[in-house]
Symmetry: C2
Subunit: 424 residues, 2 copies
């Protein structure tokens, strides 16, 4: 078996398949004819229950989702509950499925969550690091040809005053040259955990000949794909609170409930963004054009750059086209980050593989703003309150505010809970 | 209280004070008039017992050491057994002693150990990362002015084809400039763990204003300092096996028992080295000239560069001066590393602070070779057998060979064991 033996019919384990992107990804690859094994420990739903947060779009359980997917499309997705920190469980999955590729989302992915306190920082870093280590050893020992596609983040780079290259940079120094990993200055314990993973993966490619693609993804927006729209049971998450929601989602929800959009500081913080449908396309391109043995390929996965203030203005403009008013407010920045900086990140590799980007302005008009307006009565305004988790002093107050309030939250179906499932 | 309030009388926690450098460091700082709190979880002695390895120089327990130190010098060292992974224990230490500075050696520090198998890789990375995270949060929350002096390793950099700067490099790229962390390509899960720590510490200086000095240390040799020589009870470790011993120690022991020195591969692997007495001086210089608040200062801490083959030849020459014969053999390299490469690492900062280096050739002649010759009957030859832990396939065979053999090992006093102590 070879990881590069064709453009369909691959066995792909989607790790973190219950997440915002994981679930649409599982469906997308299943639709394309790949054999999808969906794996998750359901930690994200547990953190919602603990913290009092929820998806504004109602979610079904993984069991209900895969049954609905088969009913609607005739395609099967294998669903397995497992925790990647559990090495025997990881090894059992590899033995059973012998995957051609892994699409690895199975990490704690919120920067504010990682900054709440010591415990959240440790949880984030140990969870992410140990899960990824277990995957690397399982690849080495069981399926050395398996292609690891790991979701990283553009946040690994920080905001250097030079162009951001895709993973590596040619440095000339004192008359000599080398191509070295691009220096990274990540801005939270979460972002640091992704850098730790990137470094461990890079080593495994060099030492063991693992094939890896490290996708440094921008901020993903949108919640509808060709597959989620087939049936409400196939929905994916829409987070809007200050811990799990992106600034873009939070802004849309603030506007819908008549609050000003709260821009942190000056709002010059610039980041890369992409439509969730482009995420589907990018990961599929990486899967179907695998890295070579021993290669640690890095793609910057985003399509457009915006500053936070530009985002707020785009939303105001999008809402205006729907006849809706919006105000923008600047609030003290709870994060430690530059609010005015140079930002020019390369993102050519995926375009070279054939990516055809969607544009933010279109998606906002077509889907996000309309959905949020329709569901604005389901918004618990407490989850929008500022300030959010402080990078200096932590976020226990925010965590307490959210979790204490949750009894007054929306109904069970909207909170996105499911009955506990037996651990595998 | 300020961390920069004077050149003596500081309260310093030496973390990992039972280790090869930790114990001499505790004595050295105590001699200089600092109030030393020696902290260790005794993991290194446990790993010896588990793996069947031992120090060629007999070791006393920490309790015996600090009692002897006080009897000989009149100086007190406070000894506390604690595990840095235990956050409440770390917080209790901070509350009790409110340290001006931490000298942080408390990490699993063997590259081969980290490469034995998945479990050893996870143990190394989680142990090192969580301990350091707990220190950073304790500093932020309890003694924000505390100066963290962290022992890193030159191995964090790998062997780039450009000059290695001290922590940061000025990069000019596409007409713009920035000063960024020097790109790192570490060569084992141990070395990766030190990079993870460096990245976390760098973040804590930026986000919380922590003062940190990151000492990227070369390979340390020698086992005698001004303090260890005062009494045999004050000895520090001398490791010679293929898991814990450096190539230099292993070579000296191989020669003493009449074996050829086993150079891995071509032997062109070049590294920085320093005398343990220079380590004492460097850390003292860092302590008494602390980093500023928010500064993450990086010093490359070594004094001379040698290739592995040059080391072997130096030892042969040193032994010849004692009338002893030596042969050198090249064996297959169990590690993944370049065996011929450019290597030029800067190490100016500590010289600027006043460091006066000792030279390797002198120390070898004066102390190491003579001691090893004298104790060659205590050497368990099994611990010298090659190949050692393989970077490709791991080291369970080596671990089994060592640990199975240990019942035939040297007497208890030489194995360096001590009775279990009550955990704090």
């Amino acid at each position: 078996m070879s990881a590069s033996n064709g453009r369909s019919g691959l066995t792909v384990m989607v790790l973190g398949a219950d997440g915002y992107i994981g679930w649409p990804m599982a469906m997308h690859l299943s639709r394309l004819g790949h054999r999808v094994v969906a794996v998750d420990n359901l930690a994200r739903r547990r953190w919602d229950r603990e913290g009092g947060t929820y998806s504004l779009v109602p979610l079904r359980s993984m069991g209900q989702r895969v049954r609905r997917w088969e009913a609607v499309t005739g395609n099967q997705i294998v669903w397995r509950r497992a925790d990647l920190r559990n090495a025997p469980a990881v090894n059992a999955l590899f033995q059973e499925f012998r995957p051609h590729a892994l699409v690895h989302f199975a990490e704690q992915r919120s920067a504010p969550f990682s900054m709440v306190d010591r415990r959240h920082a440790e949880l984030t870093q140990v969870n992410n690091l140990v899960g990824t280590l277990n995957l690397l050893f399982a690849i080495r020992d069981q399926v050395p040809d398996c292609h690891l596609i790991k979701l990283g983040t553009m946040g690994e780079y920080g905001t250097p005053n030079i162009d951001i290259e895709e993973g590596y940079i040619d440095i000339e120094h004192n008359g000599r040259r080398d191509r070295l990993p691009f220096p990274k200055v990540p801005g939270s314990f979460y972002h640091l955990s992704k850098v730790h993973d990137s470094n461990n993966i890079h080593f495994a490619t060099r030492a063991w000949g693992v094939r890896a693609t490290d996708l440094n993804q921008g901020v993903v927006y949108g919640f509808e794909t060709d597959d989620t729209v087939l049936h409400p049971d196939l929905n994916t998450r829409f987070d809007f609170d200050s811990i799990w929601g992106t600034a873009l989602n939070r802004f849309c929800v603030q506007a819908a409930v008549g609050q000003p959009l709260t821009v942190y500081g000056k709002g010059g913080q610039t980041r890369g963004f992409l439509d969730i449908r482009d995420t589907m396309a990018c990961i599929t391109l990486a899967l179907e054009n695998p890295a070579d043995r021993g290669e640690c390929r890095v793609f910057n996965q985003f399509t457009e750059q915006f500053s936070v203030l530009q985002l707020a203005e785009l939303i105001a403009k999008g809402r205006k086209a729907h006849g809706l008013d919006t105000t923008i407010a600047h609030v003290p920045n709870p994060r430690i980050e530059l609010e005015e900086h140079y930002y020019n990140a390369k993102h050519q590799h995926l375009l070279d593989l054939g990516l055809q980007p969607h544009l933010l302005a279109d998606t906002l008009l077509d889907s996000v703003i309309a959905m949020v307006e329709k569901r604005s009565d389901k918004v618990d305004a407490v989850l929008l309150e500022q300030p959010s988790v402080s990078w200096k002093t932590g976020g226990n107050e925010v965590w307490d505010r959210y979790s204490t309030h949750k009894t007054a939250g929306p109904p069970r179906a909207v909170r996105g809970e499911e009955a506990p499932q037996k651990a595998r």
